[in-house]
Symmetry: C2
Subunit: 129 residues, 2 copies
Amino acid sequence: MNTHFDHAGVATDDAAELADLYADLFGLEIAHEEEFDGMRVVFVDCGNGYFELLEPLEDGTIAQYLDSHGAGIHHLALATGDLEGALERARASDVRLIDEEPRPGAWGHTVAFLHPADTGGVLLEFVEY
Amino acid sequence: MNTHFDHAGVATDDAAELADLYADLFGLEIAHEEEFDGMRVVFVDCGNGYFELLEPLEDGTIAQYLDSHGAGIHHLALATGDLEGALERARASDVRLIDEEPRPGAWGHTVAFLHPADTGGVLLEFVEY
């Protein structure tokens, strides 16, 4: 499986309301909901990827993002079949890693984030299913 | 064709350099480049969608975005087979439109933007091929 688009992470103060709006507006289905890492996380299925709506339930990265930036696009995630290899490739390109090692992410996936300062200001996440 | 993810638009001051980095880092191909509406626009192919890298060549929306926010994710685009219907649906949900009528976009597509204040702070674009 080649690297491909997986989801756009969106910071929001009401994930359920925004999920309903996106589902309605775009004719999409809510695929998955869970509480993870102090957040309510709702995935809205675009057919070829997801909106991942992130609502903080306690202080943390997303709560701080909402405080400083307001609601909006937080990150982009690419799916890969070889997360260790993808991180190796990033290191070889002198891209700093937020997660040096893969770690558990939402929906039971394994994830790692790259540092946005080295990727054009875009917070990028790798996801391995 | 149902609504699905088409691209993530990224504001950058060097689209060619960022395209090379993304292609390298993620093993992707550059699919298309053009000058459009005072911008250099480079599409990097994720297989199931694109990064649309937007570099301003003159003053305009993206130049102003870079000035106020710095480089990073600017918008998300969903492809639809019925752009007029999608705009009608947005109006029915009381979502304000930046473009009341579909207009020409990059790569010869037809596009319209929704107002981020009504979509959770996310600037969303519809694209019709």
